[in-house]
Symmetry: C2
Subunit: 691 residues, 2 copies
């Protein structure tokens, strides 16, 4: 329990804000006026909870309270009748219990006395006999209750308008998310808004993915009209009845107020633009939670969110959205399905918890999630086959990627992620001083890893084969398992070599199409030093979208399609999402592999900086840490690094031994040199010669 | 899956009607204007579900639908845009999925085509990958949706009114439940209703348990006014502002429409009156669910409800309220606490499932509940100590009864109920063809039974001692474990003898005070042939309440208290509930042990009739069966029995061999004779001589 302070806060059952909000957000998806609810179980907040606090007063105190819900107060075992908004407590020791019931919004309380205030030192229980530390956010005013929370909006004026008969095509110049505002609006009738991520979509009344038909009844009274549902659009096609009269239209862009703590700049304007559009894409999809796309699905998908979480570390370093998303994804007990019904997505959830811990050092979050990690892992363990391998059962979805592939039986990729999740459980159980469980998970993980290589490693092909069905090995090598095995450090030097040569750089191996799986493929290529290739690929693939006028990056992009074929997906002409979080992966690639920064122990207590030019003239950037940041500059003769916290190692490759006045550069062989960055707030200038 | 019929019904996720309604009902408790929510977890309906049906049409069909919630329809994988209230399906095979989202009331659908209708043949899923048969009730009209369901009301006119200044004391002559109706009501101001189960309570503005302060604003317009919250009362003290003008007041008594299928009559008018008031008490507390009392708590308590369920078999034989109550009590997964947080109450829940099956033969219900029985039992098994015995842990409540007693450690009574629950699991697992689980539960149960007798049976005292704490046996014998062990058939002849003499009829053993535990004590006395004593006790104890003017039976009654001390409980002057289900136990005792009817195999396929006069001149009665009933008449020379179904055995005691023209009475020794009742619809007259 934390220390009591005098700053009161709204408090609630831990996780319930996220889980309740997740339900609300998830149900906002509609497609042409038809709700499309997620196909996974939606949990919600507990509707009946109790808050409890033992406290001692030096003097009598008048205590005010505000409650979201119906409530009663029991002070020292006595029910206080009525619904008091304040009450007195005498000097001395007390126990207070406030029971709150609410099925419309999350039960929450705000207690403000001279010394007794609601804060994290209160306990809360959903009547299951388990008292947990109450949760609170940034709601420190009685009037600002959790249920009244809304994301802020910013008014945006169109860059172009084309008026027709009772119709208006509005272009906001870039993809945005939010509401439309018409001021003034008068008259009676229907006003229709057809939204488009592209102009073609907005003009396609028959096929655009989202629209609103609003009925207004203002008569002669001019009013300010704001649409009800937040939508994703760059273009809006407004069509209204003759009797409706519209004034100027603007957009109210709704956004999460986070700042860009990470930066990237380099000698390639193309790449800078790609980074900029990536950052904007990630900002649009980083909201209450990390959502996949802002037009569609607007859902929280674990695999997608995991990539957003990784990118977040190189842009916003907003820890809160990571926590919100991970709590929402996991939901409540019991675990009945994989996360999002997808086998791999359960594992990405474990990996997200771990990486959040690695980058932020947030042990509190790990401790909070640990029981839910354990029950999800038990669910996974229960879904092993007789060989101890995980398979998709029944309606489980083995996703991996959109590409055509066999997903039956024992899929090597799933075993790799499963193995990693077990290692994570072992490591975090150790951290939380649960050694028997650490041992338990560790042993299962180690056995699985041995088995993966026994079964799937193909010496001839130099990689892991795809799957085994009913004991029959599928001889095909795909990229997925091999590249993950490499990134997770499961391969020896020789295996890394063959995976690089025979799998990653082998054009005969089935290609990866989605930006989603390319995220990992390009990361893997960087891991084996293929930065220059990756750079070319980024400029070609993401640059290709820019050439087609993208203001945000897409769910999928096929350079071979003609421009007018780019918008279709899922059998619908405008089915493709043009603002999709997984499209923003250059943020991660450029931050982790070009600026070259990553933590080597939790919370950046130690870290590594290995900047790589990969043919660029210079790069410059900032990578955020929990407190402070790392700044890097590199050109062909100089590297400049500084950091606000932690102890780092700078690693560079140089044709000659590099020099630095602040410390020795140790020769690590093969042209690599390392410098210890032990001093915070100091600028380390290093002189070297690019190879 | 059932056979499709053309009668459409509203359908929903199985159990969600009960669980959602349980939440609603449970939150209706208030005490002097302050909500008192239950201290157990309240579950609710799933807010996002999918309904699915595979069907084949011979011809194109126009299909209408109504939905409680937002929805979409997918026909053969294609989303039907908009929110159609009807759609066409062509001849041929189809799959339809209707997704429904609702957080205000339970998602439900009503589908009506020429041949495609919503019924139990549809499947439903809460997006957890498990498709269950949809549930439906008696909602066969589109306009009568489940959420619009209300219990009926009946208008009741006061028997007496005493008018004061702006005040009116109304007496409805007997305890009722519902609303007040004033017609006409006009004026502006506050009108207050102080409710009383007794006149004293209604007149005590300061201490009555429930009141309403309603603000009306009718001005000169005379209106019909009905109060908002259903209350329990015989008396109402109405006090209103001068500017409020009231016309005649009546009550709208809200009740569950069930009929009394059981009857009891005898030569004692006192006993007849006790039966009548018991029947009325049970009817008042038999509503959406079996609740404990109508003034308070109005909650569903497993131990209380189990007694209502047993009484129900001798009065209403309403199977639906049993099922509703048992589903509501169990709630959803995960099991985190005992039912109502009480160890014994988990076990009564198992016993209720079993007895419902025994009396009704309803295997469908057992099959539906089986997974939830298994998870609750697993929870119980996880709460065994190292000796394999169950204990109360943490905030678990070991209730047994209100009497003062040690409830720590291994309480013998709890082990007895646990053992019985394990036997039930074994037997029902066998029924559902789950032999490995039957074996599993059976073995644990058998081992526990051996251990109970090894540890707790006291040869010297002739009964089971109360408990063992930290290996230290408490030498005190209490009635609870011994009498349950006897009723459950766990004792041998000798043990039955000592329990009867040394425990049940031993005044040195701590007395049982509540009607709740007396239910079992009196049943146990009947089991050992102490009918005459039981009869005296019923006439004295329940008759005592009648003498004090009871129109319903009470939560607790102490004949030694003066009349004006009778209403206090829980430290509040009117805290005692004067209409409490467990007060109605004479219904069960008279039906099962005096009319003497009980099933000996599920659903009354076979049954036993063992009528006992116990000193009465004659008794006459009806005991309902799932289909039909058993009628019994007995005086000192004649017994007349007839039955509509099943095969029975009549067992009577006679001074001489009895005679019956329809079959032989077999001498069973000790004056007992048995007659096979093989023919339905036939009246069996038997001539005998009372001992």
């Amino acid at each position: 329990m934390g220390t009591q302070t005098l700053t009161a806060a709204w408090i609630w059952y831990p996780g319930d804000l996220e889980i309740g909000l997740h339900r609300e957000v998830s149900l906002r998806r509609d497609e042409r006026g038809t709700i499309v609810p997620p196909f996974w179980r939606l949990d919600t907040f507990y509707g009946s909870v109790k808050f409890r606090k033992f406290f001692e007063l030096e003097a009598e105190e008048e205590i005010a309270l505000a409650v979201e819900g119906q409530y009663n107060i029991t002070l020292d075992g006595q029910l206080l009748y009525g619904n008091p908004t304040s009450f007195k407590a005498a000097a001395g020791k007390h126990e207070i219990i406030i029971s709150v019931v609410n099925d419309r919004c999350m039960p929450a309380i705000f207690v403000q006395g001279a010394t007794l205030v609601s804060d994290r030192s209160w306990l809360v229980c959903c009547n299951n006999q388990i008292w947990l530390e109450a949760d609170c956010g940034d709601f420190h005013l009685q009037q600002q209750s959790p249920s009244s929370f809304r994301l802020p909006v910013e008014e945006i004026v169109p860059v172009e308008e084309v008026a027709g008969q009772q119709a208006l095509l509005v272009d906001f110049g870039k993809e945005i998310f939010g509401f439309l505002r018409i001021s003034p609006l008068s008259g009676n009738g229907t006003i229709s808004f057809y939204y488009g991520e592209s102009q073609e979509e907005a003009l396609s009344v028959e096929d655009c993915e989202t629209f609103d038909h609003d009925h207004v009844d203002f008569g002669q009274n001019a009013a300010v009209y704001v649409t009800k549902k937040a939508r994703a659009f760059r273009y809006v096609n407004v069509i209204c009845d003759e009797a409706v009269h519209t004034g100027p239209i603007t957009a109210l862009h709704e956004y999460l107020p986070v700042s860009r703590r990470g930066q990237f700049n380099c000698s390639s304007e193309r790449l800078n633009q790609i980074w900029e559009v990536s950052a904007y894409t990630l900002h649009l999809t980083t909201r209450e939670f990390f959502i996949d796309g802002i037009k569609r699905d607007r859902w929280v998908w674990s695999g997608d969110a995991y990539q957003s979480l990784l990118m977040n570390f190189y842009l916003f370093f907003d820890q809160a959205v990571n926590r919100r998303t991970w709590i929402a994804l996991r939901g409540k007990e019991p675990v009945e399905t994989h996360i999002n019904h997808i086998v791999d997505y359960s594992f990405y959830w474990f990996m997200g918890v771990y990486d959040h811990y690695l980058y932020t050092g947030d042990q509190v979050f790990v401790r909070q999630q640990y029981p839910k990690m354990a029950s999800l892992m038990q669910f996974c363990l229960n879904r092993r086959n007789d060989n101890g391998m995980i398979e998709g059962y029944g309606d489980d979805w083995v996703f991996i990627d959109w590409a055509d592939m066999d997903k039956k039986g024992e899929v090597s990729f799933e075993q790799i992620l499963f193995c990693r999740s077990l290692e994570i459980m072992a490591e975090l159980a150790e951290l939380l001083q649960d050694p028997s469980q650490a041992n338990y998970y560790g042993e299962i993980g180690a056995a699985l890893k041995r088995q993966i290589f026994d079964v799937f490693w193909d010496e001839t092909q130099g990689g892991l084969v795809h799957n085994r069905v009913n004991g029959q090995l599928n001889g095909q090598v795909t990229r997925y398992a091999s590249m993950f095995a490499m990134m997770l450090g499961y391969l020896n030097e020789e295996q890394i070599g063959t995976v690089k040569a025979d799998v990653l750089l082998n054009d005969c191996i089935q290609k990866i199409k989605t930006p989603y799986m390319r995220f990992y493929e390009l990361a893997a290529l960087c891991e084996v030093g293929e930065h220059a290739n990756v750079l070319k690929e980024i400029e070609k693939y993401w640059g290709g979208m820019l050439d087609l006028g993208a203001t945000t990056f897409w769910e999928e992009y096929d350079p071979l399609l003609r421009p007018n074929e780019q918008y279709a997906m899922y059998g619908r002409p405008y089915g493709k999402s043009l603002c999709h979080a997984w499209g923003a992966s250059p943020l991660y690639l450029l931050g982790k592999y070009f600026l070259g920064v990553q933590p080597t122990s939790p919370g950046y207590a130690t870290y590594r900086v290995e900047p790589v030019l990969a043919g660029l003239e210079w790069i410059r950037g900032v990578v955020p840490m929990p407190e402070g940041q790392i700044e890097i500059y590199m050109d062909r003769t100089q590297v400049i690094v500084s950091s606000d916290a932690g102890e780092g190692v700078l690693r560079i490759r140089s044709a000659v031994p590099p020099t630095c006045e602040l410390g020795p550069l140790i020769d690590k062989g093969d042209g690599y040199y390392e410098l210890q960055l032990n001093q915070q707030g100091i600028i380390y200038p290093i002189y070297y010669t690019a190879l």
